[in-house]
Symmetry: C2
C-alpha cells in the first residue's frame, strides 16, 4: 500500500489543480483513491457506464485501443508511469462522446481515483475540469500521431519503427512478440507483417525465430524506417 | 459588416465564458474580431505559426483535414454555422501538438478572433482556457468518429453513407462531385470509388453521369449503408 506522504507528493506533482482545491477536498480525494495492482492482460475499461475512474500510473504500461465489430484492433496510444488516463473516466468529460478500450500491457500498479467523486469535483471546480480537458487534449495529440503513422506511413516503415521502439524500450535486441501482436500494434494484418518481416530477413536486418524477432542490423533498420 | 448588437448576442451564445470576463475584456475581444468572407476553396489554416485565429462560423462549411507528403488526403471533420474552430488557433492550446489543414468547402462568412489576443485572454482566465479545451474535446470526438468510419467500415458502406449524407445535406437527389473528391472525403482511392459506384449502378441504386451521381433508389442505398 502507498504511504500517505508519498501519495500527497504524487498527487501534488500529477494533479495541477492540487493547490486550487480545499484541504477538505484534498482529504476526500485521497479517501477516494485506491492503489491497485493489475495483472498483465487485464481489461481496465469500465462496464456499461464507461466510468472506471481516473488512472494515475505508478508502474507498467497501459494500451488504449479501439476494436471493430469483426475484431480489427487499432492501438491509439500507450501510457507509461507518471501519466494520467482520463478516457477511463469519460463521465468526467461530458464532451467526449466516444469510448475506448484499455488493457494492462504489462503488470501495472495504478492509483485509481473514483470516477463519480472526481466528476463531482470537476463539476464544482473549474480548475479540476480544465485539468481533465487538458489531459484529454494531450491524448488527442497522441491519437493524431497514431493517425499520421497509420495512414501516411507504409507498412514497412511502420514495422521498422515499431521494432526500433521496442528494442529501445526494453533495452534488448530481441522483440518477443508474435506477428499477430505486431499486426495489432501497427494497424495491419498478420499476413502482411509476416511477408514484410521476411523481406527484412532477406535484406539482413532481422533474424526470425519462434521466440521472436532478433534485430541484427539496427542501422539498416533505421534507414528503412525513414 | 455585422452590427454591434448582433455581434454581442452571437458571442454571448457561442462563448460560454462571456459572463466570466470583465466588460473591458468584452470590449477588447469585440475589437479583436473581424467579420471575413472567404471564397470557396480558400485555405484558412495559418502559415508557420499556425495561429490564424479562433473561427466562429456564420455561414458556409469548413473542412478540416490532413495531407500526407505524397498528397494523401484525410477528412477529419466538417464545421457548420454556429460551430467554433479552435484548431485554427493551436497557439491557444499548448497541449495540442499537431496541426491540421482547414479549407472553405463553400463560400464562408466567419468571425475571426485574433489568436494572440485570445491566447492572452485564455492565459489570464481559466474559464476561457477551459472553454477552448472543451471545444477541442468536441473535435477529438469528431476525429474518433472519423477513425471508426474509415478503419472499421468497408468502402461500399462508407460510400453509401457519404451519398446519403450529401443528398440529405443539399436536399436533392444528385451529388455533383467527382470520384476523386469522393475518394478524398471517404479516405479511399479514386479507382476504388469508381469501381464501387459502378457496382452501385449495376444494382440499380445510382445513375452515373458527367454532372455527378444521381440517387435513384434511396432505400436500397440505405440498406447498403448498414
Amino acid at each position: 500500500m502507498i504511504q500517505n506522504g508519498q501519495l500527497i507528493s504524487l498527487l501534488e506533482k500529477s494533479f495541477s489543480f492540487w493547490d486550487k482545491i480545499s484541504d477538505l477536498e484534498k482529504a476526500a480525494l485521497m479517501d477516494n483513491i485506491s492503489d491497485i495492482k493489475y495483472e498483465k492482460g487485464t481489461c481496465l475499461s469500465g462496464s456499461d457506464d464507461s466510468c472506471a475512474g481516473v488512472f494515475l500510473i505508478r508502474s507498467g504500461t497501459l494500451r488504449v485501443y479501439m476494436l471493430s465489430e469483426d475484431g480489427k484492433d487499432l492501438t491509439l496510444f500507450r501510457l507509461n508511469p507518471g501519466e494520467i488516463c482520463i478516457l477511463s473516466a469519460s463521465c468526467v468529460l461530458k464532451l467526449i462522446r466516444f469510448e475506448v478500450l484499455i488493457e494492462a500491457e504489462t503488470e501495472c500498479r495504478i492509483l485509481v481515483a473514483n470516477a463519480n467523486f472526481f466528476s463531482d469535483l470537476a463539476a464544482r471546480n473549474v480548475w479540476v475540469e480544465n485539468f481533465s480537458y487538458k489531459v484529454a487534449a494531450e491524448r488527442f495529440s497522441d491519437v493524431m500521431e497514431a493517425i499520421q503513422r497509420i495512414f501516411f506511413l507504409s507498412v514497412d516503415k511502420r514495422l521498422a519503427n515499431f521494432l526500433l521502439e521496442e528494442i529501445e524500450r526494453n533495452n534488448t535486441n530481441v522483440v518477443p512478440v508474435t506477428h499477430e501482436q505486431i499486426a495489432r500494434y501497427i494497424g495491419s494484418a498478420r499476413e502482411v507483417v509476416s511477408r514484410t518481416l521476411k523481406s527484412f530477413y532477406v535484406l539482413g536486418a532481422v533474424e526470425l525465430s519462434r521466440g521472436g524477432i532478433k534485430i541484427v542490423d539496427k542501422k539498416l533498420l533505421q534507414s528503412m524506417s525513414k
